[in-house]
């Protein structure tokens, strides 16, 4: 079963690295290289997070010369500022945990069925 990749503001902030990136470029626009320099993780991984943020509509990327500059799109972050929304991420986590548990139950049930059929 695949969980549909969500591309919204909540997906954007669900990851700690992405939250850090948002915080970083919220102060001023930055190019991809200087963002990557601030993290211990690999450049492609940072790049991947930046891409997700762009897909979530949180940041815009502008190419100037050889450099790609990332800038925050504040309007789209407004949604999160709504006062109940921080709770959403926590409930998503809980449902993820429930779903994972459910899937293990389900596969156990299927195994038992097979065993029974085999006799």
């Amino acid at each position: 079963m695949t969980i549909e990749a969500r591309r919204d503001v909540f997906q954007a902030i669900a990851d700690p690295t992405r939250r850090q990136i948002i915080t970083l470029i919220a102060r001023s626009e930055m190019n991809l290289n200087s963002i990557a320099d601030r993290f211990e993780i690999s450049r492609p991984t940072v790049s991947q997070h930046v891409k997700i943020l762009q897909e979530c509509g949180i940041i815009g990327i502008e190419k100037r010369g050889r450099e790609r500059y990332c800038r925050i799109k504040p309007a789209n972050l407004r949604e999160v500022a709504d006062w109940v929304e921080p709770f959403r991420v926590l409930w998503e986590d809980k449902l993820d945990s429930f779903e994972k548990y459910l899937n293990t139950l389900q596969s156990k049930a299927k195994q038992n069925e097979k065993r029974k059929r085999r006799g």
């Binding site: 079963m1 948002i22 915080t23 998503e92 449902l95 548990y101 459910l102 049930a109």
Partner: protein, 155 residues
């Protein structure tokens, strides 16, 4: 209409389709031996202190935090319709109190559509709680982001 809008504003709705028949989803969601295994974050042991699964019955789950504090979830069931829905009041101490949670199950053969609503109390009530410091438990997860957000939105 105005009231409905207001309630929508303080409701979080999550929907999922689970790859399991409704009977299994129902059992995993409502039976204490199952709940203990998924309720907590990974690696966190959940104790089911009370689980009186009937309308008016009380439930309480606790988790011991690494720092020695305790995280307590409790509530009272208000609606139970087997294989269909469970509504309950809920408190998540020390984070929030006075929430209503609604779990709705829809039989789709070998799949189950699941809708989960969390209705938060009125904004005034939450403001009050904030002043009492009940939200402190959220820690710094959102604090930094919130600071950034509010400055951005003020622009």
């Amino acid at each position: 209409m105005k009231k409905e809008n207001e309630e929508a504003k303080r409701t979080i709705t999550l929907t999922r389709t689970f790859n399991a028949p409704v009977k299994l989803v129902w059992e995993a969601w409502t039976q204490p031996e199952h709940i203990a295994l998924w309720w907590g974050p990974k690696g966190m042991e959940v104790k089911v202190v009370e689980h009186d699964f009937r309308v008016g019955g009380r439930w309480e789950y606790t988790m011991d935090m690494p720092d020695g504090s305790q995280f307590i979830s409790d509530g009272v069931y208000s609606v139970i319709v087997t294989l269909e829905k469970v509504f309950s009041s809920a408190n998540f101490k020390p984070m929030t109190a006075g929430v209503e949670i609604q779990a709705l199950f829809e039989d789709k053969g070998d799949k189950t559509n699941f809708t989960f609503n969390v209705i938060h109390p009125t904004e005034e009530y939450c403001e009050q709680q904030k002043k009492m410091g009940i939200y402190n438990g959220w820690g710094s997860v959102f604090n930094r982001l919130e600071t950034v957000l509010s400055s951005l939105i003020a622009r």
